[in-house]
């Protein structure tokens, strides 16, 4: 068991290095001279040259990369914002809780909406509920989530005036953003749950349980659901990653102070260290979430458990 977790942790490191490599390469090839941008257009050339030397911007590519990784690991320094001159890490870390909260709420909405709907759809296949659910799920998957956010604002903030359209402190303010993020995920989870349950329910061991006279609800909840959960958990983990990315757009629409909105604003103001730092941050978070999902597997799927006993 511990070997499994350790192995997965160790696999995380090369992936993280790889991501940092990609991010650093993007930064390296972004047009513009960082020293010049930091000092401004009117700064004298000599100062720019001095800053370039100080920051080691003229060193070879690999040297700069190694320095980047060393700084990141040892000093949590993944660059400085061009705009505020503060460490990218502090800028992002201060906004990260909001983004995490938003993504977590999104996952919650998605799971609460999606899993039960999928189960009922599967057990009552081809019924009216199933058909409606499947159409709604398809619509949910097809709607761009930023458009959905705008529509929700039109409906609930402007026309009905029930819910606020910006901010993220009070519970009321959290409803619309969470719904926006969560519903397209919910649609995907519904479809996945339904197809996974349908596959499981056709299995022989379900037939056996029923033949033995087991109550249907126990058959579904204890036998079918547990086995259907594995692909569903995978999808939920993947959705978390998607939501971390989707938060970028949702945060912009609802004016939430999170990493996503910071990245969008930084893109507009060409503050590239923040953009790339944000990508690195979120990629690492996503990898850790996937790791947790993999560890969860080991508890849910006895086949993996027994492999490492």
């Amino acid at each position: 068991m511990h070997k499994y977790i350790l192995r997965r942790l160790l696999l995380l490191i090369p992936v993280m290095l790889g991501v940092s490599f990609i991010v650093f390469t993007m930064m390296y090839f972004t047009p513009g001279d960082p020293a010049r941008i930091m000092l401004g257009e009117s700064a004298p050339e000599a100062e720019v040259v001095r800053l370039r030397e100080e920051l080691g911007l003229d060193d070879p590519y690999l040297v700069q990369y190694v320095r980047y990784v060393k700084n990141a690991v040892v000093h949590q320094d993944i660059g400085r914002s061009y705009a505020t001159k503060r460490l990218v890490f502090t800028e992002i870390a201060s906004r990260f809780p909001n983004t995490l909260k938003l993504a977590a709420l999104g996952v919650l909405v998605a799971v609460i909406l999606g899993v039960p709907t999928g189960i009922i759809s599967a057990t009552k296949q081809y019924s009216l509920f199933d058909n409606i659910a499947m159409v709604l799920a398809l619509v949910g998957v097809s709607m761009p989530n930023f458009w959905q956010g705008l529509l929700l604002i039109i409906l609930f903030s402007i026309n009905l005036g029930w819910l606020p359209s910006s901010g993220f402190d009070s519970f009321k303010q959290m409803i619309l953003p969470a719904l926006t993020l969560g519903t397209s995920s919910a649609a995907i989870i519904t479809r996945m749950t339904r197809s996974s349950m349908l596959e499981v329910v056709r299995q022989d061991y379900i037939r056996t349980a029923r033949a033995k006279g087991q109550v249907e609800s126990v058959v579904i909840n204890q036998h079918a659901l547990k086995n259907a959960l594995i692909p569903i958990i995978t999808v939920i983990g993947l959705q978390f990653g998607y939501l971390l990315g989707g938060a970028v757009l949702t945060e912009s629409i609802f004016s939430i102070t999170g990493v996503g909105r910071l990245m969008v604003d930084s893109i507009k103001s060409r503050d590239y260290p923040i953009v790339q730092g944000g990508v690195l941050f979120i990629a690492i978070t996503f990898s850790i979430v996937n790791l947790c999902v993999d560890i969860l597997y080991a508890f849910v799927d006895p086949r993996i458990k027994s492999q490492y006993k």
């Binding site: 992936v15 993007m26 097809s142 761009p144 930023f146 039109i154 990315g245 970028v248 979120i282």
Partner: protein, 301 residues
């Protein structure tokens, strides 16, 4: 002697029956697809979209950039069926021209992903071993970065514009095709017809391109259909945050971004482009689902 049936007598029952025409596997798939009304609906919509894109110059009532500052912010009326935007541009015309951009992005991004991903996947699957490991690790790294963030990262480095959006979205989709092709290659690699091809002296490239890939097309096609949908969504998302296609190009996501500032009073500016995106994605998903069912070998009767 009369009780012994001769061969010609045994053959009698078949005489006179018409011989069945041999159906190609693709015709079989098309036949099954036709039975799926939803998928056909999706296909029809996509065809309509293609017609709109190709003949936009003839179909659209106005140019996509025709500003009429006296006619700004009009809600849908007889002269402008979907209203006008803040520059007095006809929204219906912009949506029609926008279909060109969306279809372009969708298909080119998916093509990039299919070619690169397919090549990497077939190499990884066919040769196996450390090369396989290495390629799949790189795919894992790409997958660690959520799609839209990877696209943002690439466009931030390369600069905004249609071409870079296509590249960015394409690169993000490479891992899925790599995995699909690799899985297909792994399952086909040890079959006898491959052995036979090798025995006849076919080189690796020929085996991969002429034998393995044609037999792996089914999951690739399904993924491609859904991939076009995702590419269009990603491109719209990028344009929505100002990173993608630049104005005055009438990309649907950019139109949404433009209309956002006027959402309080002129919600039609955001409603219609979004509807266009949704209908397109919906149709592609219906088609993709239908193709998946039609191509599913388990359902072969």
């Amino acid at each position: 002697m009369s009780s012994v049936k001769t061969i010609s007598q045994e053959a009698q029952p078949l005489a006179g029956k018409p011989r069945r025409k041999k159906r190609s596997p693709w015709a079989e798939v098309w036949r099954r697809l036709k039975k799926n009304k939803a998928a056909l609906f999706g296909l029809t919509i996509i065809c309509i979209l293609f017609i709109l894109a190709i003949f936009a110059d003839y179909i659209a009532p106005y140019g996509f950039d025709d500003q009429d500052l006296l006619a700004r912010f009009q809600t849908p009326n007889s002269k402008h069926l979907l209203g006008t935007d803040n520059f007095g541009r006809d929204i219906l015309s912009r949506i029609i021209y926008g279909s060109r951009i969306s279809l372009q992005v969708g298909f080119i991004a998916v093509s990039i992903a299919m070619i690169c991903g397919g090549t990497l996947g077939s190499i990884a699957g066919y040769y196996g071993g450390r090369l396989d490991n290495f390629i799949m690790r790189i795919m894992d790294i790409l997958l660690a970065i959520p799609g839209i963030l990877l696209a943002i990262s690439i466009v931030a480095a390369l600069g905004p514009g249609l071409r870079n959006v296509m590249i960015a979205v394409g690169i993000g989709s490479i891992p899925s095709y790599a995995r699909i092709v690799r899985a297909s290659v792994l399952s086909l690699r040890d079959q006898e017809f491959i052995e036979a091809a090798k025995a006849v002296g076919a080189n690796d490239f020929r085996i991969i391109t002429k034998h393995i890939i044609p037999n792996s097309m089914a999951p690739i096609i399904v993924q491609a259909t859904i991939g076009v949908a995702n590419a269009i969504l990603s491109a719209a998302g990028l344009s929505f945050i100002g990173l993608g296609i630049q104005p005055p190009q009438p990309e649907w996501g950019a139109m949404l971004n433009n209309g956002r500032q006027f959402i309080r009073d002129y919600s039609h500016m955001t409603a219609f482009p979004g509807l266009a995106i949704m209908i397109t994605i919906f149709a592609l998903n219906l088609l993709g689902d239908g193709l998946r069912d039609a191509l599913d070998p388990r359902l072969k009767s």
